[in-house]
Amino acid sequence: MPSQPPLPPLLASYVSNLPDSSLTLVSSILGATSNWLVLRFLHAALSAPSPNAAFGSDELHNGIKKKVVMVSFMRSYEFWRTEAKRLGLDLARLADKQQFAFIDGLSELFYAPQATATPSISAAGLGSSPRTTLPMRSAPGAVPGRSPQPVMPTTTGARGNVTPKQAELGIAKKLHFSGRGLASLDALEKDILSVIEQQKSMMEDGDELLLIIDQPDLLLAATGASMGIGATEMSEWITALQQHAHATVLTLATDAPLIHNASTSGGELATPIETEHAALVIGLAHRARSVMQLRTLDTGAAKDVSGVLRISRGGGLNTSEEESLEEREALYFIQRDGGVKVFGRGES
């Protein structure tokens, strides 16, 4: 199988050159995950201009340097690092160059801060060996990224004294959820904003900062109404972050129970999380510029198709801009080497 270009030509116009203060929503379901698409966003923003010239989007690269701040609630840094490597992106080096900042919302989100003592011991025991191997790709025997590796979070778990180590690892910040209600969301927002500001301080005029938030719906699911956090609070939180970035990309789950149980036809048995999640996702789709929906093939599994990608205009699209975003539906296939082929129906 011929190796695919890192950025499929069909996708190039949708994942690069996102307009100012735009929101792009990537929706995924269990059978069709969104990480490959997020990686394409990363690649479009971070790759050196030369490989991109082939896709005709080079003229806007001139002079504009792009920075990415990525907040991930669902997958660990190790996962993103290995997957990005397959696309030719070295996240650790980019983080060194202050072009990329990773905020870990997964490993210590609900980790009690008083447990500092235990990880520091483990860090002393295990810490040195993984750190030396970090700049290189992990050993080929290791699972190539499909499952998060538990080793890394625990070794980096120590706080306070390991800040330089974290910077070395490429993790700019780890999020901690504490308290309840809006105050806790505000604290998370402040953490993320501090990283954004740090990135911005290095920016020249005209540089663009892309904010990627991977599955913030986890935060909603893990807290919920009992913590005083609902769909409105979550979307306000996202709006507040959005104001500090040039463009924002969000990934959210749209599995049927999370969306359709709460609809009026679904009966009255919707649980609070179903209602809140549906309200969050649909509300965000109303303000998004474009919605990229991933789903499995309607006709069942196929050997050479991984799923369907539908790109639609969201409710927040400017009418004047309507022509610039063409709606389309395409099939995609993730190859064994991580390359992705995107093609129309009937093509191959």
Binding site: T232, E233, T254, S263, S265, A278, R287, R295, R313, T319
Partner: protein
Amino acid sequence: MAPINISHRRTHNLLLISKLLSLRDTASPLTLVLDSLEQPATPLLKEYIRRAKLSKVHVTLIAFETLKRPEGVDAFVSTCRKSPADIVKEVSAVYQPVAASNPSRRRLILIDSINPLLSSKRVDPGFHLASFLGSFITPSSPRAKVDASLVVTYHQDVPELPQQNPYTPSPISVLTYLATSIITLHSFSHVLAQKAARDRSLAPPVFGLEEEQEGVLLGRLDRLAGTGKAEGIVIELEHRRKSGRGVLEWYLLPPASQYSPQHLKEIVTLLDDSVLYNPPMERDPGAGDEEPTSTFELGLTDRQRREREGVVLPYFDAQHGDGPGEGGRILYDMGEEDDFDEEEDEI
């Protein structure tokens, strides 16, 4: 009957929508716009702003989900982390300088989405939607005379949270009760697809979330719908007059690219007048019903038709089974205009 009706609707209802969208005579103090992902309200709000600019109306946007101030909006009020009382205060504050310089200026207040406010956990339980909305329309001081119109957008597809108090009505029922006009938006291509299905007595297709297909949020793919270039928004309007009489009408708002921003004439048309919705082809079979003209009168008068229907045909009579040989007679009652000819009968 139909042609009279449609010309009546054309004159009256087009005047009505023109009045509503241009905010003339404060025809509707509170307009509720019900939209969905399939047809967002953005183009309609743009049209409101465009017309307000033409007639020099002061436009305030209360932004629950808009990030940047859209073109043409005079005052942009962000609601991020603000209580309803703060919002009301700020909205009246931005108008103060305008009111001082030009007191007769009319005002349009747009709310881009009321849903976040309705489902917010921070708003205290004593929050009263009716008085919140009312406080925008009624002037703060009695001597200041302000003609304010409020346009509230409500996303129909965002699920409502269960009510804390089971005896209070849901926010959407309160809104529909308060509103003087309710505008429901539909995508033109979907309306066409549904009409095409109905014309063939098929179940009308559903789109987007209503498909209930896993992973599909939006079904709005213009080209997939197979209806060609059906652009525009279908507006379903329910207007409540002061007399209490309601007006129901369907309109078509063409896309903004089809007219210039300074266009003054009415661009909204009745949906029934749309060539795509009511193709002129349908008129032709109606015209074909007319008889070919000749010197003979080939038609029947009503009376003739009635009498013809009254004739019992032989095979009906035969079914009574009065016995062999009895059925199948021709039963005919002589009418007065029948010219009985004995000679003919004898033959």
